[in-house]
């Protein structure tokens, strides 16, 4: 059997520049960075679809942020200090607090992918986010 890799390149809109790559983690629910374990990046919000999963090193695909500006910004900041922040953020509805959060920890943040990210990207895909060039590359390995 041979390993097939399918690769898709998608245009996106840069909000915070830079480059980040990693395994995709898709959340259909809004994410609050404060409700994660600061040392490990594991989501500890009860009943959240990502509960028990770690954000560390991932490319996070999510609809929006949530919670007050102070907790959201401080939450992502603590993850970054412990080196367990996501490597890049792909978001659908962006707001000021999320921009500030990503700016402070220097994690690339993009939106407006040319295709719906929730259809194109699956948890486990390998994703490269080149925010400077405005390109997201999604690689899915299948047997």
């Amino acid at each position: 059997m041979t390993m097939m890799n399918s690769e898709i390149k998608l245009k996106c809109h840069k909000i915070i520049g830079g480059y980040g790559e990693g395994e995709a983690l898709v959340s259909n629910e809004p994410v609050c960075f404060y409700l994660t374990e600061p040392k490990t990046g594991i989501v500890r919000e009860k009943n959240h679809e990502l509960a028990g999963k770690s954000l560390a090193g991932k490319v996070l695909v999510f609809p929006s942020g949530k919670a007050s500006s102070v907790v959201q910004i401080d939450g992502l900041f603590k993850l970054a200090q412990n080196n367990v922040a996501p490597k890049a953020l792909i978001v659908k509805d962006v707001e000021t607090v999320l921009v500030v959060s990503a700016f402070i920890v220097k994690v690339p943040l993009v939106d407006k992918l040319e295709k719906d990210p929730f259809e194109v990207v699956h948890t486990g895909d390998f994703v490269k986010v080149d925010a400077e060039k405005g390109i997201v590359t999604v690689t899915r390995s299948s047997l």
Partner: protein, 399 residues
């Protein structure tokens, strides 16, 4: 986003690294909202928090030589020496708070340490474009004063204060300020605690949007409006609201909706207020302390607290705290309210908020407050949420 030549030069770092970082953040926000240009602001309020994300950004700007170009006030932190003497603040926490306050001073902010700066230290006027963070201040200046601000984070507001500009989007445009939900108030609102419950109900019902309240016949007081703003942002995210007949952009329901009146109507009656009240109680047990002043108490509320405590003695087993701004305390001292509260055994404390790490001693205690926002922060174990006069009575009786 189109940048002027001067804005480009700031972004290139020609005026120092601090202003460059501030501009980078504003441009990123402008990109996020597809803003076409930057517009001038004439004041800002940075919701400083004394936490690490806050420290990082204000030091980035201050160390890079940035200075606020327009009046930029600050939210509560805490008086380190005062609280260290009372509760022994861990050294690393105290260091963060000390550095935050010092950096805001270096960046040229107004050291108001108040969550209601629109009352005294930094007052916007009608139609003025500003950048006000603090979830309770944003709706107040938008709705009550009629100034124009988006929902800012501490950092975006500070950056706007440094550059004296903000990207133009959202609530800067008149058409985005129209109502989205019609709320019919059928409860009688007797005092500011009823507005507390109303705010909590409305935030919970609609989550996000611009509610238009009808059915209110008596002019709301300053404190009613402050409480509505604060509590609707505990249960929801309300950056603007209208009260038909009273707030500045809502002489009528039609004006509040800019002609496009919502067909759906949400009713809030006594029943919903009672439900909110019940939901807020996490215990009915004995209290260890009373915490008032979230948001910071006004002079009128300090007067009422003093009147209720006059000649009484707070029970030995209960600590009694009232948080307010430094400017309000000066007047309250002059009027004799502070000495009356202190004679009864209470404390009037400035520059701080229940959400600061200085209240470390209350982590495992039971508190009573008139503010769901105060209870929400979970800086203490259990909470009872009651009217001011019931808080005072419980403090005196010790239960």
């Amino acid at each position: 986003m189109h940048l002027t030549r001067e804005e480009e030069r700031i972004l290139q770092g020609e005026f120092g690294e601090g202003t460059q970082k501030a501009m980078e953040l504003l441009v990123a926000i402008g990109d996020a909202y597809n803003a076409e240009k930057m517009i001038p602001i004439s004041r800002a309020h940075a919701a400083s928090s004394g936490q690490e994300g806050d420290l990082y950004f204000v030091e980035l700007l201050a160390n890079g030589g940035a200075r606020c170009k327009v009046p930029t006030s600050t939210n509560p932190v805490y008086d380190i020496e005062y609280f260290d003497e009372l509760f022994e603040i861990p050294k690393d926490e105290a260091d963060v708070a000390r550095r935050v306050m010092e950096a805001y001073k270096r960046v040229g902010a107004i050291l108001s340490w108040s969550c209601i700066p629109y009352m005294a230290e930094n007052i916007p006027f009608y139609g003025e474009t500003v950048a006000f963070s603090e979830s309770s201040a944003t709706p107040y200046v938008n709705s009550v004063i009629g100034a124009r601000t988006n929902r800012e984070a501490a950092q975006s507001a500070l950056a706007a204060g440094v550059i004296s500009k903000t990207p133009e989007y959202g609530l800067h445009f008149k058409e985005n300020r129209k109502g989205t939900h019609l709320i019919s108030v059928e409860a009688s609102l007797k005092d500011e605690f009823d507005y507390t419950l109303l705010g909590y109900c409305v935030g919970k019902q609609i989550g996000y949007g611009i509610p238009v309240l009808t059915g209110i016949s008596k002019r709301p007081s300053t404190e009613d409006l402050i409480n509505f703003c604060a509590m609707s942002n505990v249960s929801g995210a309300i950056s603007m609201f209208h009260i038909s007949g009273f707030t500045v952009e809502a002489s009528t329901v039609e004006e509040a909706f800019q002609g496009d009146v919502s067909k759906d109507r949400i009713t809030v009656s006594e029943h919903e207020l009672k439900q909110a009240y019940d939901e807020l109680q996490t215990t009915s047990g004995k209290i260890d302390f009373v915490m008032l002043g979230c948001p910071h108490y006004t002079l009128r509320q300090l007067e009422e607290t003093a009147r209720l405590l006059n000649g009484k003695k707070i029970h030995d087993g209960v600590s009694f705290w009232v948080c307010t701004s430094a400017t309000t305390k000066v007047l309250a001292e002059r009027n004799g309210y502070v000495s009356t509260i202190e004679k009864a055994g209470g404390h009037v404390v400035v520059d701080t908020c229940i959400d600061e790490p200085c209240w470390i001693a209350y982590k495992r205690k039971v508190g009573m407050t008139d503010s769901p926002k105060c209870a929400y922060y979970r800086r203490f174990k259990e909470a009872r949420v009651e009217r001011l006069r019931d808080c005072v009575e419980a403090a005196v009786k010790g239960r």
